[in-house]
């Protein structure tokens, strides 16, 4: 369980990223965060694995205040919280396998990892993760030879290899075309359900959010302005989040899978 208690975050330059956030995210939930650009979605997500550190309040993951963590605890936390990024963040020149296995780094001793020594179980886990996102045949290709959607699937495989309790995804489909976006969201949803991994996703498109989310959190100017099941989202919710009526370009367009 993830719990925000009066969390605020002010960036060094004075920007208020988060304002007095109170939230509870239950185990196994699939939460989608929506909001305008600059609303604080990324900040919210990145504070859950301490890529940014809130300046005020308490943030509990499994009843431990992660804001008090030292760098050792932090690495432990991060092995348990997987993250997926908008630009996939793969090492382009490394092979798919090397990228995926890097999800195990948090569990591996420095020297072993420098020498590239991983156990059979770990290699197998990495390969299975690739199979789960249907991309096992690319295992020894270089990441830069893959299309955007394939790269994002590799990134999901990397997170799976990490065997996390929580997955955070910061606009995982922003760089992808609509069909590929749906594919990636489907995979995220799948691992959420199959492995009961708590999943928090930032999305830009409101219709996609409603299609996949158990629960939607709307943000505006660093504050949570909506929090409820997808079914409760109404026209007025949109106005609250976006400060205006819904428009056609808030929608990603029809769903058509591969």
């Amino acid at each position: 369980m993830i719990e925000f208690k009066n969390v605020s975050l002010v960036y060094p330059n004075g920007t208020q990223g988060l304002k007095n956030i109170n939230l509870k995210i239950n185990d196994g939930e699939f939460v989608v965060v929506v909001g305008l650009s600059g609303a604080g979605k990324s900040t919210l997500i990145r504070s859950m694995n301490r890529l940014v550190t809130p300046t005020d309040g308490e943030l509990f993951i499994d009843d431990e205040n992660i804001l008090a963590y030292n760098s050792r605890n932090l690495r432990k936390l991060r092995t348990e919280v997987g993250m997926i990024f908008q630009n996939y963040n793969l090492v382009k020149r490394s092979t798919v396998m090397k990228n995926v296995i890097s999800g195990r780094l948090g569990y591996t001793g420095t020297l072993k990892s420098l020498l590239g020594i991983f156990s059979k179980e770990e290699l197998s886990l990495a390969y299975q993760s690739l199979e789960r996102v249907n991309i096992a045949e690319k295992v020894y290709q270089r990441a830069d030879q893959l299309s955007g959607g394939q790269q994002q699937r590799v990134a999901i495989a990397r997170v799976l290899t990490q065997q996390p309790k929580v997955v955070l995804a910061d606009e995982p489909v922003a760089s992808l075309d609509p069909p590929t976006s749906h594919q990636v969201m489907t995979y995220l949803r799948k691992i959420n359900k199959e492995d009961n991994i708590t999943t928090v996703v930032n999305l830009h498109f409101i219709d996609m959010a409603m299609e996949y989310a158990d629960r939607i959190i709307g943000m505006r100017a660093g504050e949570v302005v909506f929090d409820g099941p997808a079914s409760e989202v109404s026209e007025s919710t949109f106005e609250e989040i976006y400060g205006r009526k819904i428009r056609e370009d808030d929608l990603v367009g029809g769903q058509d899978d591969e």
Binding site: M97, K120, E121, L123, S124, A126, Y127, Q128, L130, E131, A136, V139, Y140
Partner: protein
């Protein structure tokens, strides 16, 4: 749990063989290097080394300020040499640059010849060029200037030709469509496109030439290098320290100024 292992990485045979050959070649190269090079370790780790260390190093770090005037005088001469040589090269490299650029010089022969000449010049270390010029006209700054000038033509000519090859040829076509002749096209269409880069490269080369001309005096080609030889032969390490200090400061200042100017140009 049953383990599904990834398939073995497929490698083509020829690639494996190639990699093995490369590895063997590298190992052989290093074996040859380390086995045949004669380093006189007994001298390197001798008492004298320690002696010299304790004598030379402290002196290097306590520069002889009484030599400051003399050192600065020669440094000034070095700067003059570098400036004269670079400017000569910056101008003489222009025809080379044009001849070596395949988009403006259509003659393949001229093209290859000038490219070859530029490559050849770049293969000579400045000091070797200076050696020739000292033998020709005696040990004086002019020998250094010529070495700098010739050496710089090699690099500037190549850079110039690359600049010319990257210009927007559409502009040239537009001027031709206006009825401009070849010289007018050059002056109105090509030169404005290349001047800033040419200048910037020339200034950059000046930076390099200042560094290069500090050593030419070692073979008598003028500048501060002369003093380096004399001071080391006489074991005046505090004077060498002064020379070092002046070179470091002057070169740093020049690098900084040159970078600032170049930033403004392009």
């Amino acid at each position: 749990m049953e383990l599904t292992m990834p398939p073995k990485k497929k490698r083509s045979k020829s690639k494996v063989i190639r990699n093995i050959l490369i590895a063997i070649a590298l190992i052989a190269l290093y074996l040859w290097t380390f086995l045949t090079i004669e380093i006189r370790w007994e001298r390197v780790f001798s008492e004298r080394t320690i002696d010299n260390f304790t004598r030379v190093i402290p002196q290097l770090f306590s520069p002889d300020w009484s030599a400051f005037g003399k050192v600065m005088g020669l440094m000034w001469e070095t700067l003059q040499m570098a400036y004269t040589g670079t400017l000569l090269a910056a101008i003489l490299a222009i025809p080379f640059g044009f001849f070596a650029a395949s988009n403006v010089t259509k003659s393949k022969v001229l093209n290859t010849l000038s490219k070859g000449a530029l490559d050849a010049i770049r293969a000579f270390p400045e000091l070797v060029l200076a050696l020739m010029f000292v033998a020709a006209i005696g040990p004086r700054p002019f020998a250094g200037v010529l070495a700098i000038a010739i050496g710089s033509i090699g690099m500037l000519g190549k850079l110039y030709s690359e600049v010319i090859e990257s210009i927007d040829m559409n502009v040239v076509e537009a001027l031709e469509a206006n009825g401009a002749n070849k010289i007018q096209v050059l002056y109105y269409g090509i030169i404005p496109q290349i001047i800033p880069e040419f200048l910037s490269y020339a200034i950059y080369r000046f930076e390099i030439d200042v560094r290069a001309s500090t050593i030419l005096g070692i073979i008598g080609a003028g500048g501060i290098g002369t003093l380096v030889t004399i001071a080391t032969q006489n074991r005046n390490w505090d004077e060498v320290g002064m020379i070092l200090l002046v070179i470091i400061v002057v070169v740093t200042v020049i690098d900084y100024l040159s970078a600032a100017i170049r930033k403004r140009i392009v």
